[in-house]
Subunit: 148 residues, 2 copies
């Protein structure tokens, strides 16, 4: 017999609880959508998916929850070169920053991690005496297939 949903919190839900954030059915639905997403989702996609878990979730609750997660530094907000409209895309913040490369022709998003990126951030922190909280590197160009 499966455990009730409230007893299998994902990592995001756990982190929020640790910070004393009140957990609701709606937030649980939204967090699980973000947690299990295999691609970058925008607010409307998150809304639609969250409603499949909890019918009652409202668009404004999605935005309020996204803002909450941003403030807590638990998600990253991306533009992905606005390949699909003017809105933003969201993803769980990973321990190590990664770079997003968007193909301007086929729309494919490639992710990339690099030690050089880490060094660059170190350089900025020391040379500019700037304390980095969030770093976002987005690239537009042509992928392996489309550059030919």
């Amino acid at each position: 017999m499966p455990l009730p949903k409230t007893e299998i919190p994902g990592r995001l839900q756990q982190l929020m609880s640790e910070r004393g954030v009140r957990m609701t059915e709606q937030r649980r639905a939204i967090l699980s959508v973000i947690e299990t997403a295999k691609k970058h989702l925008d607010a409307s996609q998150i809304l639609r998916r969250a409603q499949r878990v909890d019918e009652s979730v409202d668009r404004s609750t999605v935005y309020r929850t996204l803002n909450l997660l941003k403030r807590h530094g638990l998600i990253d907000e991306l533009d992905l070169m606005h390949l699909g409209g003017e809105g933003h895309y969201y993803e769980r913040k990973m321990s190590r920053d990664h770079i997003h490369m968007a193909c301007l022709r086929c729309g494919k998003i490639t992710e990339f991690e690099s030690e050089l990126f880490e060094s660059l951030k170190d350089q900025m922190e020391s040379e500019c005496r700037f304390k980095i909280v969030v770093a976002r590197l987005e690239i537009g160009g042509y992928c392996t297939v489309c550059r030919k």
Copy 2:
């Protein structure tokens, strides 16, 4: 006696003409605003300033011109961590990419260039076989003054 405006084209105007883009009073006004801006401007600010040069400039013409400049790769579009709303900021594309650091406390924008950034892009191009057209690195954090 000063030359008429049409005879002192800025660099942007020159680049557009070279590409066979038709030049109008309105575009000249918008281009000169972008060209001479000392800080990053959003669409509304560009509109307001362009109207000081040519009263008739319409908001939609500003957006159409910004899209044109983006397509030609002559301007960069920035979020600047959305410190002042959900819109975008624009600036002339410089020969060398620069990084934007936005202070989450005082809002100050610091620009930074780095050889390491150039190396990182080289690495992406070779390791991912990705042809970079536009690169945008934006940082949020605390500046020298505010980090104290």
